[in-house]
Symmetry: C2
């Protein structure tokens, strides 16, 4: 049951990633869930906002804090379609988020090349859910850029 | 001459840090300079905005990109009163900033515990300018919190 629920939320993150694709952004989407409720949805907006800090995760963190009225995201889970970069991992550490679920890893750009200590010691991570969908979307995006 | 100019800009960053102190925020300030001109000033606003992403550096990066109309901060220098954290270092990497000057290091919270590879390979760093002023300000802030 937990897995089915995780998949449901990851599918919402994938919807956000597809929105990014439609807007000619690197297709990455994120949602943040608290007590079963999606409290933030965001997609990568780096090009639209002309701002390197406008990753899906960063926008979702800001929106979730605004919703909760708390800078800490205790009790929250982030679902994101790609392994967060070090910037986003650093933000997630500050937010002390409970759990991070990402669809596909990013050996070149992801935070894990610096190790799990980038995150808060209490943050749990898992990945691999909807991996193929996320990879396919990213592959199509970068292929379209090379045409 | 270069050092005098660096000091001038760092003193502006310290003014921002003092503004943060007055507003009961951890006193950290930053300015970004392009072609000798200060194009962004910011201070830590995490408590005011209730948002862990609202570090001085992050706000300055967003403001500088807005000013330049570019997500890349080529030709820019960031002056910041404390060694950036991994989140901010990650953002500075994405922005491909030319140079980072920080007043005092942060062995526990700074990005350097993960190494200089957190930054873009072309980014230069230096530190130690106005170190004592920055340290004194931070010390006073944390002492006032323990009273």
């Amino acid at each position: 049951m937990a897995l089915l629920t995780d998949e449901l939320y990851m599918r919402e993150a994938l919807k956000q990633a597809r929105l990014a694709f439609q807007r000619d952004e690197v297709p990455i989407g994120a949602v943040i869930v608290s007590e079963g409720l999606i409290i933030a949805k965001a997609h990568n907006q780096v090009e639209q906002l002309c701002d390197v800090t406008a990753h899906a995760e960063m926008l979702a963190i800001t929106a979730a804090s605004n919703y909760l009225g708390s800078k800490y995201l205790h009790g929250c889970t982030l679902y994101v379609t790609l392994e967060p970069c070090p910037m986003c991992a650093g933000a997630l550490r500050w937010a002390q988020i409970d759990r991070i679920v990402y669809a596909t890893d990013d050996p070149k750009g992801g935070f894990m090349r610096f190790g799990k200590t980038m995150l808060h010691p209490t943050t749990e991570i898992s990945f691999g859910l909807c991996q193929e969908e996320s990879q396919t979307l990213l592959k199509h995006f970068f292929q379209s850029k090379r045409l």
